[in-house]
């Protein structure tokens, strides 16, 4: 959440001087700092400082909603490149993100295990200790038969198996996409095997905490789906280890975390939630659904960032009649004006879209859906900062989910109706294919360039490889010597090829530490954007060329251009 306060004249003057100093400093840096360090590209973002003094902060949900709905629309995207990426345009591992699918092979077994490392809950006895403290679906905080604390959440009556299935399946998907996820398991809640901890309390409307009663349990169970045998299907989320620090925001940095340097709206993986959210229909993207926790690793206390609640997926919603969900933000000026002045005669897409009716599936479909017009409940700053290169990065990860992996992830939802399970998988596959067709073709899709031992350039066309586009008629490359100290290039030669392998020119430098830059473009009438080259940088070491840099889009775009395709 960014907030601005008016500045005094003196403050403005000081800020002006400071900005001037930064600009001058940057120019000096440009001269003295190399574009590439010897350890580039980094695979893991270093977190070198102790963060143990970070203090809990929980965003006020109404404030976040009001801000996102009524202030955020006036936010103009900066158009800047994501700032937490390494020099080869990838997001390094960190306490925000871990490269998994799309970077390495993921088996169905690994995917279905997801974040779960411990044992599942023991449902033989549940001891209720508190109400549920997060999420909108009814639930409890309870200890299982082994005394371990879990957050239990149930299905609403109108979506039996729907909400719980969506939580467990989406947890696996978002874990595979690289996010820190809570360990979740499907479990059983039998009212015959429950007890209330004598110290258990619940917050009342008065604000007072008073003892938890049997009637409080009934009040919750009356609002959830009950199985014919009188038990309840629940999803159990394990307590996140470490000290809970509240939520992370989708803008700015934590002021109390020394390792948190990049404003969150410029984190590629947070921008990419716009694509991943569209794919899975994660409509409730907000700070209140995130958790920061202090964790100690390798002797250092750092902040680990979780997407806590990914259950608002597959069409799940808080009210069966939320027809506009995922088609509009809770408030949008343009649709408000359209309906106001047309008296509702100008129909919105959500009024005519067909949904297949399964009790365990919400309003979820893939035929009319378009990721560019998909909308979460409220827009975050990171959502608004998504650029084409971020979307391309995200799309590659979505495309890495094979049909089998998607069906394996959905299968962990344990839907009793195989048709419903199949339908969710079908929709995810349809949506995946649309994401590939839209985002992987919007910009030059050349990936994984390398120079082989013969000096030939070999690369892949991610859009073609994903089946999202036909191969272009040819590829072109402009080869340049590159001086890392001065950031200057010196043209060597132009080459071209009909395939993704291309002979290199003669005269490539051979000395250790030498660098070349290659602009690679593709000739495609169908996709003119592919003519804009990606630039790859290689460094020579021990007789081999190593990729050290990749730039798919310029550092800064016109804000309008940055957002036009989303």
């Amino acid at each position: 959440m960014i907030t601005f306060q008016p500045m005094s004249l003196a403050q403005r003057a000081a800020l002006g001087l400071a900005l001037t100093a930064i600009v001058v400093g940057t120019n000096i840096d440009a001269q003295k700092r190399p574009r590439f360090y010897p350890d580039d590209p980094v695979a893991r973002e270093p977190e070198t400082q102790d963060a143990s003094k970070a203090q809990p902060y929980f965003i006020q949900q109404m404030y976040e909603q009001v801000y996102n709905l009524f202030v955020q629309p006036g936010y103009k995207p900066s158009g800047t490149r994501a700032q937490n990426i390494n020099t080869i345009d990838e997001v390094p591992d960190s306490h925000w993100f871990t490269n998994r699918i799309g970077t390495r092979a993921i088996s169905a077994e690994e995917l279905t295990r997801g974040p779960n490392v411990g044992a599942p809950p023991d449902p033989s006895r549940w001891t209720l200790i508190r109400e549920k403290t997060s999420g909108s679906h009814p639930g409890f905080t309870a200890q299982d038969g082994k005394g371990e604390t879990w957050f239990l959440e149930f299905d609403p009556p109108y979506f039996p198996q729907g909400a719980t299935g969506a939580v467990v399946a989406s947890t696996k998907i978002f874990w595979a996409l690289g996010y820190n996820q809570v360990e979740t398991y499907l479990t059983t809640f039998d009212p015959k095997n429950i007890q209330i901890d004598p110290k258990a309390t619940i917050k009342r409307p008065s604000g007072a905490r008073t003892p938890f009663t049997k009637d409080d349990i009934n009040a919750i169970l009356e609002r959830v789906a009950r199985k014919p045998d009188g038990t309840y299907r629940a999803v159990a989320g394990r307590l996140i280890p470490g000290k809970i620090l509240g939520n992370f925001l989708y803008a700015g940095t934590r002021p109390d975390d020394p390792n948190d340097l990049v404003p969150h709206e410029h984190h590629r993986e947070l921008r990419a939630l716009r694509v991943f959210g569209a794919w899975t229909n994660l409509t409730d993207i907000k700070a209140a659904n995130t958790i920061d926790a202090l964790t100690t690793e390798n002797g250092r206390t750092v902040v680990k960032h979780y997407l806590q609640d990914v259950g608002s997926t597959f069409g799940m919603c808080n009210d069966l009649h939320e027809w506009d969900l995922s088609w509009e933000h809770f408030y949008q000026g343009d649709t408000t004006a359209k309906r106001l002045f047309s008296l509702g005669f100008a129909l919105s897409p959500w009024q005519t879209v067909d949904y297949k009716e399964y009790p365990s599936v919400g309003k979820f479909e893939g035929d009319r859906w378009d990721p560019r017009t998909w909308r979460p409940q409220t827009p975050t700053t990171a959502y608004m900062e998504l650029r084409d290169d971020d979307a391309f990065w995200a799309a590659r990860r979505v495309v890495a989910f094979t049909d089998d992996l998607i069906r394996a992830a959905v299968h962990v939802g344990e839907y009793s109706d195989p048709e419903a399970e199949k339908y969710i998988g079908d929709v995810l596959i349809k949506r995946r294919n649309k994401i590939a067709a839209i985002y992987m073709t919007a910009i030059n899709p050349i990936v994984s360039p390398r120079i082989d031992a013969n000096g030939s350039l070999v690369f892949e066309n991610a859009a073609v490889a994903a089946g999202a586009a036909k191969a272009p008629s040819g590829y072109r490359a402009t080869w340049m010597r590159y001086d890392n100290a001065t950031d200057q290039t010196d043209r060597l030669a132009d080459t071209q090829s009909a395939t993704t392998a291309m002979e290199g020119p003669r005269g490539l430098p051979t000395n250790n530490g030498a660098m070349v830059a290659i602009d690679i473009s593709a000739d495609s009438d169908a996709y003119p954007a592919w003519k804009k080259p990606v630039r790859a940088y290689f460094r020579r070491a021990n007789g081999n060329w190593t990729l050290v840099g990749l730039e798919r889009m310029p550092e800064r775009l016109d804000a309008q251009a940055a957002t036009k395709s989303h």
Binding site: M1, T3, Q5, I28, K32, R33, Y37, P38, D39, D40, V42, E45, P46, E47, T48, Q49, D50, K53, Q55, Y57, Q60, Q61, M62, Y63, V66, Y67, R204, P205, S206, G207, T210, D215, N218, A219, E222, R254, P255, D256, D257, P258, N259, D260, L261, D319, H321, W323, D324, F330, Y331, Q332, T335, T336, R339, L340, L343, G344, L347, S348, W350, Q351
Partner: protein
């Protein structure tokens, strides 16, 4: 000379600053990190010198406070806009609400309007009784109305013959509502002990004729009422689907046995969502019939009426009065966004001395357009413009029309 010295001093200071910058720059160059990891470490080390906790902004604190009030917890001082009696104009008021137990609230409040309508009362509400099957309301208070309109009896009463009357009324009431299955079936029973003290009307209109029943009387009522109905609207405060079918029986017992009577209210609401609730056809039918007790009469001011912000909206308050009323309302509600609806409406109604005359002939009608600002369960602001043969009226209300 002095100016020149100052100028030199300034130049000197600038030179010193420049030298410091150059020296700093040279120092920084010497400290330049050699690796990406070192560069990051340096930046993180720099930030570690300026750490501070999150600072909540003023806007965040304000919204937090508003959320606390809307959530109902820890409410204390609050605005109160309810008038002492319909037609009294905009009410200025305030209240002090206090939780007296985890769910139960005591609210002491009052309001005043420019024509001098006053209201002071204390209300106790217990919303969670009988394992969430019931709720209880107890209210004790006093109110005064100074210029309540009376246009005569009957469906054809002239609009240009307005009389005024006033009253003061101490009252105490209790109301218990039960939903036996916690779902649609709703039962309500209430008792009210009240004393109507008739007063001459104020304002520009003459006071009501002395021959009307109840004029100059002081009537003490024991009012029993019972309601049974099915209500499957998501909320009475805001709904786009569902309905209400209810009947309420009233028994007004005058301690002097002069003005006792019975009344039956029939109330039907049906919301018909169209185009996935983007449109709603909302229909409302209401009829009230009265029945006198032996040798007793109904005071004119207790007769059912039409004309107000939620009956015939294009007519002034209490425009039509008689023993029986029939009101039919239809609205075409249009969802603009999740917080606002617009609506075109049409109202029709009549009053009659006999129930057999409650037909569809000679009904008074109006039509209009309105904006409603709402939450998921309530309608805090309704603004409407209604037109009838008697002119244009603007309605401001803090509740739905039905």
């Amino acid at each position: 000379m002095r100016r020149r010295t100052q100028c030199l001093r300034t130049l000197g200071r600038r030179a010193l600053v420049l030298a410091a910058i150059i020296a700093n720059s040279a120092f920084a160059q010497a400290q330049e990190p050699a690796t990406r990891e070192a560069a990051t470490e340096q930046a993180q080390a720099d930030k570690s010198k300026q750490l501070h906790p999150y600072v909540t902004t003023k806007a965040e604190r304000l919204v937090d406070k508003a959320e606390t009030i809307l959530a109902g917890s820890a409410i204390h001082l609050h605005p109160f806009f309810e008038n002492a009696y319909p037609g009294g104009g905009f009410a200025f008021g305030a209240g002090w609400a206090q939780y007296v137990s985890p769910y139960n609230v005591l609210d002491v409040r009052g309001s005043w309007t420019i024509p001098g309508y006053k209201r002071a009362e204390a209300e106790f509400t217990a919303p969670r009784l009988f394992h969430r099957r019931g709720s209880l309301k107890l209210l004790g208070g006093w109110r005064e109305a100074t210029e309540v309109a009376f246009y005569g009896l009957g469906n054809d009463s002239p609009s240009n013959e307005r009389f005024n009357y006033g009253f003061t009324q101490p009252r105490a009431l209790g109301e218990l509502e039960v939903r036996p299955t916690r779902r649609f079936l709703t039962l309500r029973g209430g008792f009210e002990y009240t004393n109507w003290n008739f007063q001459e009307g104020q304002g520009s209109s003459p006071t009501v004729p002395a021959n009307l029943p109840g004029v100059d009387a002081e009537i003490t009522y024991r009012h029993f009422n019972a309601m049974a109905g099915f209500d499957w609207r998501p909320s009475p405060g805001y709904a786009r689907r569902g309905g209400l079918y209810a009947v309420t029986l009233h028994d007004y017992r005058d301690s002097n046995e002069n003005f006792g009577f019975r009344q039956i209210d029939y109330d039907v609401v049906q919301h018909l969502p169209l185009l996935r609730e983007a449109w709603v056809l909302s229909l409302h039918a209401f009829a009230a019939t009265t029945d006198t007790k032996a040798d007793q009469r109904i005071p004119f001011f207790m007769l059912p009426y039409l004309g107000s912000g939620d009956t015939l909206r294009g007519f002034p308050s209490f425009r039509f009065r008689d023993r029986n009323t029939l009101l039919l309302q239809g609205e075409w509600r249009i969802m603009v966004n999740r917080f606002m609806d617009t609506a075109f409406f049409y109202d029709a109604g009549k009053v009659a001395a006999h129930t057999s005359d409650l037909d569809f002939n000679h009904m008074h009608t109006d039509y209009g357009f309105g904006l409603r600002f709402h939450g998921p369960l309530n309608t805090p602001l309704r603004v409407e413009v209604a037109n009838s043969r008697e002119g244009l009226r603007i309605v401001f209300a803090s509740s739905p029309v039905f």
